[in-house]
């Protein structure tokens, strides 16, 4: 049986790949949505933090023998610390100003990071091997599913659900959300809001680094890997609704599936379809699919 000329097993295989990519987009856009939703900062350095996360994993492996599992924890921690520094020293001063200044600052930081890494490592990229425990795959009949890709879906979605739960259903999350709406009142209650904001930015950056480590065995680790993805991730966040955590998760997965369908039927358009959808969504629902109008 074929759907528009494509046999059903092939379609299933592509949709499964779309799920993998979609969950990857979801965890990457999650950090961005958290930072914008809670801090009102457009973090253009997200792609660079993703790339630095992947590079820390690679450098850790080649110089220090740090394995993949340790990298999953160490890399986000290190990038989180970097995030703390960025927020304390630079970003903090821009909160009272227009959103654009935050965007410009983080964009500039991204360019610097990319340039430094490109200077030392070139653009061809470095190879990062799939960890032993996840090598090989499962033959599902309609396609061969690498174990590593299955792990990406599990890890990414787990982290997404955990983050959503923490922000929407716990006391800490409630405090964070309150702090963004009425900072003065929350501070009057004795809660240290500036520290909360620093930690929020650091968490967003750490999530980017986590996605970076996840992607390191799938693609060549190179300084340009972040800049390719950041535009797509922004589109995901905009479609989902700039402040909505759930929105970015659902949209990420959804767009991964749509991209996969496009690749099956008209591969050349697969990098354009996300922006087409973004344009349509913005015309019909300017606040995004799950967004709250300000």
């Amino acid at each position: 049986m074929t759907i528009f000329g494509v046999p059903l097993p092939a379609l299933f295989g592509q949709l499964l790949l779309g799920l993998v990519n979609g969950s990857f987009y979801a965890v990457l856009s999650l950090g961005l949505a958290i930072i914008f939703g809670l801090l009102n900062v457009i973090n253009f350095a997200h792609g660079a933090q993703f790339m630095i996360g992947a590079f820390i994993a690679w450098i850790g492996l080649t110089e220090f023998g740090m394995n993949y599992w340790a990298a999953l924890i160490v890399s986000p921690l290190l990038v989180g610390v970097l995030g703390v520094l960025i927020e304390r020293l630079m970003l903090r001063r821009l909160y009272q100003m227009d959103h654009l200044y935050g965007l410009l600052l983080t964009f500039g930081l991204a360019l610097i990071a990319e340039g430094v890494f490109r200077n030392y490592y070139g653009v061809s990229g470095e190879s990062y091997e799939v960890p032993e425990q996840l090598q090989g795959g499962v033959n599902l009949g309609f396609m061969f599913m690498p174990l590593y890709r299955a792990w990406v879906v599990v890890a990414a979605l787990t982290v997404c659900v955990a983050a959503w739960f923490a922000i929407e259903r716990t006391r800490l999350g409630a405090t964070l959300r309150a702090a963004t709406q009425r900072q003065d009142l929350v501070q009057a209650l004795g809660i240290n809001v500036p520290v909360l904001m620093t930690l929020t930015y650091a968490t967003g950056a750490a999530l980017a680094a986590f996605a970076g480590v996840l992607s390191a065995p799938m693609v060549q680790v190179n300084p340009l890997m972040g800049s390719h993805l950041i535009i797509v991730v922004f589109a995901v966040v905009v479609i989902g609704g700039m402040g909505s955590i759930l929105g970015s998760i659902v949209t990420g997965v959804g767009l991964g599936l749509v991209e996969a369908l496009t690749k099956v039927y008209y591969g050349q358009a697969s990098s354009v379809v996300i922006f087409l959808i973004m344009a349509i969504v913005l015309l019909v629902r300017p606040a995004g699919l799950f967004g709250r109008t300000a």
Binding site: L17, G125, Y148, H228, Q268
Partner: protein
């Protein structure tokens, strides 16, 4: 020397000297290197192209002691044809640049070639590959130096078909170069008795995940998957093909692979890959000596694009000196008249369609156990003679070729 002859000789020398200055505009020859300095192709060309061109200029000035000065300018075209075209136009109209070189990424080469013809300057293409440069879009202001998609296909595709890889499926970068490579390879595969089952076109640039396209290739059941792309697209494709269990059941044919790609993939992932190149640093004493000097400056071994940059600029500068002028028509005529005999090739010549024909080489990537160290990656399988490896003039679609 006799005193009687001295004075007329001195006057003659003086007038000749000033005549030379009057012929080479302002006494300066400006070389513009237009390349990808920051994107996908910056490792195979990029900074190394600047190093190679500067080496050619320095060596020329030191060896030939010309009466004119040679300067180099450079710019990053970011793989975008419109940026390349604007820069070339600015260089030709405002900055008196005489020749533009490298031009990696076929879309930029095709755009700049037209402008070079319009402004009566010269374009020397070492970075790009599309055969359109010497066919539909040919002009007499351009020389296509290092390689093209026909010669790559002739080397690799033909060899793989002869070795039993009869059915093919292509993974193609959706722009001028990828499509050209796919078409030229298809022609050769069909002529050698193979068949092409289909092609999956992926966006260029900016695509890092090839899993969907590779899945299509796998589903086709083809014996060989031809990678009609380059740079990080190729290395990601190879890596992901291994991840999805596509290799070793199906063979991968890297239709354009540079030594920098093999270096970043590592021999474990790249071993056994067949590829065709126009230059390899370890071919003979001449290539080794030049590459060693290049390595000292750039810290990486040269790719054929970078070696081509040196060779083409050196040939150009020698032609300028020989005709004592930077007029494009005169220099080009001189370039086409003289053979190229340097470390890059010993029997190179430029044809009417602008194609510089030279020997190409079929390599196979060594196994990790066969390699003695970094950059020792290729074993030579065959040398493809110049007259055979490039499309013959009788099949040419170039209007300049007299049939």
């Amino acid at each position: 020397m006799r005193v009687k002859l001295l004075i007329p000789a001195a006057i003659l020398a003086l007038t000749l000297g000033s005549a030379a200055h009057a012929q080479v505009a302002d006494g300066v020859v400006k070389v513009g290197v237009l390349t990808d300095l920051s994107g996908t192709y910056s490792d195979l060309s990029g900074q190394g192209a600047l190093v190679a061109t500067q080496m050619a200029i320095d060596d020329f000035v030191a060896q030939e002691k010309p009466s004119f000065k040679v300067e180099m300018v450079y710019a990053d075209h970011q793989n975008k044809a419109d940026i390349a075209a604007n820069k070339a136009r600015e260089w030709f109209e405002r900055d008196n640049v005489d020749v533009v070189t490298d031009l990696v990424t076929s879309s930029t080469a095709l755009a700049v070639m037209k402008i070079a013809k319009e402004k009566n300057r010269i374009a020397l293409v070492s970075g790009a590959g599309s055969t359109r440069i010497t066919n539909e879009d040919c002009n007499d202001a351009t020389v296509h130096w290092a390689y093209d998609t026909y010669s790559l296909a002739y080397g690799t595709a033909k060899q793989v078909v002869l070795h039993g890889g009869k059915t093919w499926y292509f993974l193609t970068a959706d722009y001028a170069f990828g499509l050209s490579l796919e078409k030229d390879s298809t022609d050769i595969i069909l002529a050698s008795g193979g068949s092409v089952l289909g092609a999956a076109r992926h966006p260029f640039p900016g695509n890092a995940d090839f899993s969907s396209f590779l899945l299509k290739a796998q589903a086709s059941g083809a014996q060989v998957i031809g990678l009609a792309n380059a740079g990080t697209d190729t290395t990601n494709s190879i890596k992901q093909a291994a991840e999805f269990g596509i290799t070793p059941k199906q063979t991968l044919a890297g239709l354009l692979v540079f030594i920098t790609d093999v270096h970043s993939l590592g021999l474990k992932a790249a071993q056994g890959l067949y590829l065709t190149e126009g230059f390899y640093w370890d071919l003979n004493d001449g290539t080794r000596a030049w590459s060693k000097r290049f390595f000292e400056k750039h810290k990486k071994m040269p790719t054929m694009a970078q070696a081509g940059d040196y060779s083409s600029i050196m040939h150009y500068l020698k032609a300028v000196k020989a005709v004592n002028s930077d007029d494009a028509q005169k220099v080009m005529a001189q370039m086409k008249k003289t053979r190229i005999d340097d470390f890059f090739t010993h029997n190179g010549r430029i044809r009417d369609d602008g194609r510089m024909v030279h020997d190409m080489y079929l390599f196979q990537v060594k196994k990790p156990s066969e390699s003695t160290g970094a950059w020792d990656y290729y074993k030579l399988i065959a040398t493809i003679p110049a007259e055979e490896g490039f499309q013959s003039l009788s099949a040419s679609r170039c209007p300049l070729v007299k049939k």
